[in-house]
Symmetry: D2
Subunit: 342 residues, 4 copies
């Protein structure tokens, strides 16, 4: 029983390997008659390619999206939307040296154990390049949400040990930039934290008791490569608070019921309450280093993994649209699911 | 589209309200021919009732489990196992005062918004009492896992601002105990953190790309009432590490491939690697206070919620078997799912 | 991966064995705020017990339904509705002789092969008594459909070789009755055909391409014990028609678009078109005979199955509410699913 | 909640419209390490194009399959297999006249009612051309089944009113051929019946109580365009039989338990018993006629549908590989599901 589909009412199924023919997905369940701005979808894919050289892998991913089905005269028809991004830069031979060795903290060993076979080219399906299809699928969800007044905004709030005062779309702090340059020169990498805020969500989204809105957001985030943690509202900090300071008191203001504080992060009892939803996602450091590492091969013999090619120093800047895409899929799924609750 | 079922190959569906006739569940997909020790299942339910008076609500929940189906001569048959726990202490009138008011940081407001109706008696289905059925269902999963050599162990690692040196099954530290007594005398509450370790899991569990093992664990944990965060392996701390210190180097030892460190928390690329799986779960402070709080009623008018009855100061000690039960359901589900992967 | 749940948006999970503690189910996804007439639900269960002695097994099934959850002050709340019917007549010893033998055309052999264990008491979960929970679950679906103006009506259209001129709720034809008496005296049984009509269904129900309305109806019917065939609209007869006589021409009448004929059976392209939906379901003869039959035991040795106890001569009269219940679950499921299509 | 996916453990998701960019699918859950003969998959697609001119639509569908993912060095990897067939013959203007009218017994009216929009080009997603992706997906399932010794064989057993003595892969009877020529010259069409036999299925496939093997086969068949009925084993004929002639007596022969007769069609209690599985599927006459028909447009005004282009006289010969493909998907799904039952 595989797990390449996400969502219950709005279902994204993705496929494709890093160095295979193509990556893509099928989005099933998007309401009919939505005007689809394909340039927006393409622009989301481009956002995933970070601009700054020291963050990004220089492999030329032009990543042009092709729509195969589901649209008619610029609108969704209720039929599944299939899309594909062909890979143009498939030098498989680059990866021959990985056929028999397991890179540390990658998926090489576990996939081999699970399936008895793996596509070694660039990590195959375990590559972060798989998230391309999530960004595309999420962009369609965003289009739907935008038409409902819902906005999703992710920002960097931590890079390595540097905490940003405000979540940001990029890094401009010279101190952080020079530290990243230093890491890069050492062939090393780092992690970080992304914060995400969702506004305009009506009260009522989320399905008790297992499909609580935060439960589906947590699953969505932890399904992203390199994510190690998720917290919403007060999060881990809430564990050390008192009930009397944590409780969000209700007030009536501007004709509606609101809360004075928002430690709940916009979700109570698993259901959105109309306040801003916000959460944080922790990413581990990139596992591919530009320095040698000890490892073993499939026979258990010691071997050295050479640091070659060029890779990201930190995945966080490129992960912003991925976090947003997964959040959009969750909120859109629950918006559709909720249409039949009462 | 409701969400009262959990799992794909091993599916637990739960039902019941805090002060309704009964709570219970249906567990579908447990392999046939397992010897079932019903006393163990009952003992897990009793574990959920904390022993220490200052933690627990004194309501007498005798919580006797009745099996309705799925067993024959002490063994599972492959048919769904239904179980029920009747409620014996249903003084609904205690809750009449809540009919028109929304308790802060409870699910009262959101359920009313979603469904236009709610069972006001003790929180109805949003009550933590719903987790009884999870503990029962999880106990069956544990029996299956134990026969595969898999063990799950949760412990308290933080209560309020107190961090324990080792995760523990209960609180014996006098300093913490006296602080909890003080909180109780003030009618206040606190949160905490639970750590959970799973040993004996074979390599290969977890389904790329969306049903990664950590993604399903995260969903399981965030579906528990009062949970605000989840992290596994290095977790949020991993975000500030360097790749060169975070990567878990492979070695060959005692006839098998292992890792030198375990920042991966036993999961790489979404699939278990045979090392110990561990994660941490943050709980917010209990929302029910024994002191008055300001709120609004359904007409938006200001009102006061009286602190009456007696409730837990901290939910964490009682939540240990719940965390274990949900973890057991996830691991058992993936063990069954994996039987067809290769 | 078990299969004890039916439906996608409205999900019925059933449990229970013929001679176990109880049978029952959990219905998840029924919209909130529906007024529930529990006497109607109970009356549907009583309909399943046929009145005429020569059709029915005389075992006293008083079959009192108990509601465990999901209702509050007479209304659905959006929470799962759990219900249970306790078995009161459990003489397991009656079935000891079946422990080692396989009754012809029953599920004894296949369940033993699949699970390596089976509940031998009265067929266990493979007994037609399992359909009790379907009738109860379907009754809730009917309540929902009735409030939308949708009615479901099943009738007997064939008993053995006798075709009725009009589908009927019971048998009054003296010729058929005397033939059934004769069958009974010979310890033999027969099959029949049920016709079902659904009126008031709006255009638009059914989900291309796999969850066509007729596909889900077919699955629902073939999941009922003893069913051997399903056809809708022109059915098997349509195979020998010409397109020019089969096509249902559209007309505009009484302010709406209708069809002149209805060979489509109310469904075109898998989606309801607003006309009457009708289909036919074939039932095989009851497998339990009141005469001796040759068989083998689990060691493959020849043995004789004694015809003892008393059983139905024909299951068709008792199957009417089962066919209606399954049809109601399908239509209600699709009504809810369709709420988000456009 | 859309319905473009089929299966639970082996899931085929299809996409594409008759005159859109492409049709295709994603097959998720095929076991890893299977040798995949892509020429076989392509040959199944070609089988769907009937050879005889009077059956087939002359539109040149070269239908070349492209694999996008999931294979590595000729083997399945456990990752989803995505495939696509580009449309090369997209003269959309041919269909402009259908934009405002509803063809009788097609899906035009119902899709318009459901979605408020429809792709009018050649029926869009409701076209039988959608089944291309089923044939491709089913071919992968067949490869898996063949390696388990399971074979699926469909044949024509009825064309219009002509019943064949033996199910056949094509029509060679001169009487039937001349009648079909006559129908064609009149611009008319006819239906037929396909019989399908599955051999080599082990005992134990099928999941009680709702996912009985025959229930999933019935759903699979009724999800195919133009299908009106399904029966297995004794089918509708069984309704008029006596229990004493219908029951399949067990015998022990050649070292295993078998049945003397096979009215059960290889399935008892919803689970395969090791005998041959067989069923019959009724197809209605093709709805597209080469003669004028009365209809209405979207405003309800009377209009005439012109018979133009060239279309199949009878869909049955082309439907053989579709029936086999859907059967293969069901059996493969249940084979995988059964791997965890006991």
């Amino acid at each position: 029983m595989s797990g390449n589909s996400f969502g219950k009412a709005l279902v994204l199924t993705t496929f494709g390997e890093s160095h295979g023919v193509a990556l893509g997905g099928v989005l099933d369940g998007l309401p009919a008659n939505l005007e689809i701005d394909l340039e927006f979808v393409q622009s989301e894919i481009y956002r995933r390619k970070s601009g700054k050289v020291f963050f990004s892998s220089p492999r030329n991913e032009n990543d042009k999206l092709e729509i195969l089905s589901g649209l008619f005269e610029g609108r969704s028809t209720g039929a599944p939307i299939a899309f594909v991004i062909y890979n143009h830069d498939q030098k498989s031979s680059d990866y021959d040296h990985l056929k028999e060795t397991f890179r540390p903290s990658h998926a090489d060993y576990t996939w081999q154990q699970k399936y008895g076979i793996r596509d070694v080219r660039g990590g195959g399906r375990s590559s972060a390049r798989e998230t391309l299809a999530r960004v595309a699928g999420g962009a369609f969800a965003k289009i739907y949400l935008q038409q409902q007044g819902i906005k999703i905004n992710a920002g960097i709030s931590q890079i390595g040990e540097f905490t940003l005062s405000e979540p940001a779309a990029g890094i401009s702090d010279p101190q952080i930039l020079s530290w990243l340059e230093k890491l890069k020169s050492e062939g090393d990498t780092t992690g970080g934290v992304i914060s995400c805020a969702i506004t305009g969500v009506p009260a009522g989204l989320g399905e008790p008791v297992f499909d609580k809105l935060q439960a589906d957001l947590a699953k969505a985030m932890l399904s992203i490569n390199a994510v190690k943690g998720f917290e919403y509202g007060s999060g881990f900090r809430g564990a050390s608070m008192r009930g009397s300071e944590h409780n969000d008191l209700f007030i009536h203001e501007e004709g509606r019921i609101k809360t004075l504080t928002n430690n709940s992060g916009g979700i109570q009892g698993g259901i959105s309450n109309g306040e801003e939803i916000f959460f944080r996602v922790a990413f581990k450091p990139v596992s591919t280093l530009m320095k040698d590492q000890q490892s073993v091969n499939s026979s258990g013999e010691a071997t050295t993994i050479k640091g070659k090619g060029r890779h990201d120093v930190c995945v966080v800047p490129r992960a912003l649209p991925i976090v947003e895409a997964m959040a959009a899929l969750v909120i859109a799924d629950h918006l559709i699911r909720n249409s039949s609750s009462g």
